[in-house]
């Protein structure tokens, strides 16, 4: 066997891992790369020349920054409502015995299983039937987003809660903590990572959502709607700036979470 062959066979797992990582990160690399592009035509599909312009004037394309703000507003509100409601549902499902519990657990999965296109169009039909067709906009988007985020929150928090040993709570009660103190001192901190994960998931689902929003947005333009609209004319490179910033924020969150975790464990 040649030396190269031996090297490959010894490092085959690493090589495959690297290839997979490339496969995952190449598109992201392109998002970042194109944010520095100075397109000569309206089409931003080919890297032509390097420029800082897009980063210096991120709000240059008309309406883009407004759409980002709108998406953040909706994402934030949807996250807050879905997380609170979903956490409460999860607690009820895991901690209380009531009639219809098993059925509820099952039904919670339905919105996740329904194709989004069908969900979106049916939601429009629902709003229209209810006579709300003329008022579609910010609130209809928000209501729709809370609805589909809810299942994901419930499932995420439920998993964390089901894995929580009830003996910690019993130990707290044994150590003079009443029900209220037991919840805030023991249960909540232990379930919190699950709630946080659920909230992040909800935000990214809402911020990203195109399909359901597309049916129910009225005249309100969210960031995905803006990009879709811009695509008809040619996507401005500032969209990539927004994409890169979002990516950087996500990365920062994950990294600081890791650092925090390590510091706590020390």
């Amino acid at each position: 066997m040649s030396r190269v062959g031996r090297w490959v066979s010894e490092h085959v797992v690493m090589v495959i891992a690297l290839l997979v990582l490339c496969y995952m990160f190449l598109p992201i690399f392109f998002v970042v790369l194109m944010s520095f592009n100075a397109p000569t035509s309206r089409l931003n599909y080919e890297f032509q020349a390097f420029t800082w312009d897009n980063w210096l004037n991120p709000c240059a394309p008309a309406g883009m920054c407004e759409s980002v703000v709108k998406s953040i507003e909706i994402g934030f509100l949807a996250t807050v409502f879905a997380t609170i409601l979903g956490t409460l549902v999860a607690f009820a499902l895991v901690r209380h015995r009531f009639r219809g519990r098993a059925g509820t657990s099952l039904l919670i999965f339905l919105p996740m299983a329904t194709p989004e296109v069908v969900m979106g169009s049916s939601l429009l039909a629902l709003f229209t039937t209810a006579g709300l067709a003329g008022t579609l906009g910010f609130w209809s988007i928000l209501v729709a987003h809370i609805m589909f985020c809810l299942s994901f929150v419930v499932v995420t928090v439920k998993a964390r809660l089901a894995g929580l040993d009830s003996r910690f709570e019993q130990a707290a009660m044994d150590l003079y903590a009443n029900e209220w103190q037991t919840f805030w001192r023991v249960t909540f901190p232990l379930v919190f990572p699950g709630i946080l994960a659920a909230a992040l998931l909800a935000f990214s689902l809402s911020f990203d959502d195109f399909i359901v929003t597309n049916f129910n947005h009225g005249n309100t333009i969210t960031f995905p709607m803006f990009v879709w609209g811009a695509n008809q004319r040619g996507i401005p490179p500032q969209v990539n700036v927004i994409g890169t910033v979002m990516f950087a924020i996500a990365l920062l969150l994950v990294l600081s979470g890791g650092v925090l975790q390590r510091r706590r464990e020390r």
């Binding site: 009660m173 044994d174 003079y176 103190q181």
Partner: protein
């Protein structure tokens, strides 16, 4: 609950029953533990020890019966209203809090002042002074166990419940912690209820041992009493080992009973007889028996002798030698001889007589299963324990 925090208090359980569905995990249990006692609850797995403790702690509601501490009925109080703390079977240390905060938890909930100095003292007591800032997951099993102990003990409860707190430790650390626990208990004078299924641990540590089986207490008393004078076959097998031989009572002579053991007459004290007529199990502990060559006079003239055994197995285990001796009626009896060097060693196939001091004989009801509580027998025969 505020007063008397520094000393222990009496604990009584009267007719306490706990049913899970139709199954009685604890069945009409009566228990009385005097203030400041080290009380051990001993029994095989699943006999209801944890359930009993949980009812005292308030984590499980009794189906029936009353529980009092220092005379007050606490049976319906919430767990956080009871002057009781628990060292849980699996420690249940709060994983999100460091060691200091784990130990401080009870004090903070009660709004006690000078938390810092008390916690530091307590960590010092369990020799974990330098570990205050660590998380439970970063400690060894033995260290976690000591944190669990400190976390409960710092509250100076009137009754401390310990649910197999040493179960996860290796033998050496276990012995060390047993001594430590005993020392702490003597120092603070709190009533300890110590659950274990290690009989040696129960006997070395406790003032009173209760042997529990299938939700009921079989026998309760000082360790030596239980060992020397077991009330049931279960206790005789679960606490140490016993030779039990089928026999029938012939006669009474003053404070001794004359018993026919497979054709041989022996004597047994009335004080150790659970039956004084009819069919019995004659019991004697293996270490109380000594072997002599067949037909040779040994020991005192009024010793009990079972003649004509054949040695079938000899295992040398350092301090002693364990013999299995097959008797004429087919039963194999166990004999432990101390390796003093002064006594004759026997080999497989030797003919021997079994001798023991008559006062060491106990008599049990023949209606009971001779193998009850015998864990090796259960393991070998595949029969369920108890």
């Amino acid at each position: 609950m505020a007063d008397g925090r520094s000393a222990g208090a009496d604990l009584t359980l009267t007719g306490v029953t706990k049913r899970f569905g139709g199954f009685a995990a604890v069945d009409d249990l009566d228990l009385e533990v005097a203030s400041g006692q080290f009380f051990a609850l001993l029994g095989p797995s699943g006999c209801g020890k944890t359930t009993t403790l949980r009812m005292v702690a308030g984590l499980e509601e009794p189906t029936a019966g009353t529980i009092t501490i220092g005379g007050d009925d606490i049976g319906r109080l919430k767990p956080y209203k009871r002057p009781v703390n628990t060292v849980f079977q699996n420690y249940a240390l709060f994983p999100h809090l460091n060691i200091f905060e784990n130990v401080a938890f009870g004090l903070r909930r009660r709004g006690v002042k000078d938390v810092k100095s008390q916690v530091d003292d307590m960590l010092e007591l369990v020799e974990l002074g330098g570990y205050a800032k660590r998380r439970p997951a970063q400690l060894s099993g033995g260290q976690q166990q000591r944190v669990a102990l400190a976390r409960a003990l710092i509250n100076r409860p009137q009754v401390l419940l310990l649910d197999e707190p040493l179960g996860a430790l290796d033998l050496k650390l276990r012995r060390q912690m047993q001594i430590e626990l005993k020392r702490i208990q003597t120092e603070v004078g709190i009533t300890f209820i110590h659950v274990t299924h290690d009989q040696e641990e129960a006997m070395t540590m406790a003032d009173t041992v209760a042997v529990m089986n299938k939700g009921v207490i079989e026998q309760m008393g000082a360790p030596a009493d239980l060992y020397d004078n077991p009330a049931t076959t279960f206790v005789s097998n679960f606490l140490g080992q016993s030779n039990l031989v089928k026999a029938s009572i012939l006669d009474t002579h003053g404070d001794a009973l004359v018993v026919d053991v497979q054709g041989t007459r022996i004597a047994a004290p009335v004080a150790r007889a659970r039956r004084t007529d009819g069919q019995v199990w004659v019991g004697v502990r293996p270490e109380k028996v000594f072997l002599g060559a067949a037909g040779v006079e040994e020991g005192s003239y009024d010793d009990n002798v079972l003649p004509s055994g054949t040695v079938t197995d000899v295992s040398f285990i350092g301090v002693s030698t364990q013999y299995l001796v097959k008797m004429p009626w087919g039963q194999e009896l166990t004999v432990f001889e101390q390796n003093t060097g002064a006594r004759e060693q026997f080999r497989v196939g030797d003919k021997v007589d079994l001798h023991w001091v008559a006062a060491h004989t106990f008599l049990l009801d023949a209606d009971q299963d001779a193998h009850a509580g015998d864990e090796t027998y259960a393991a070998l025969s595949g029969a369920p324990t108890a």
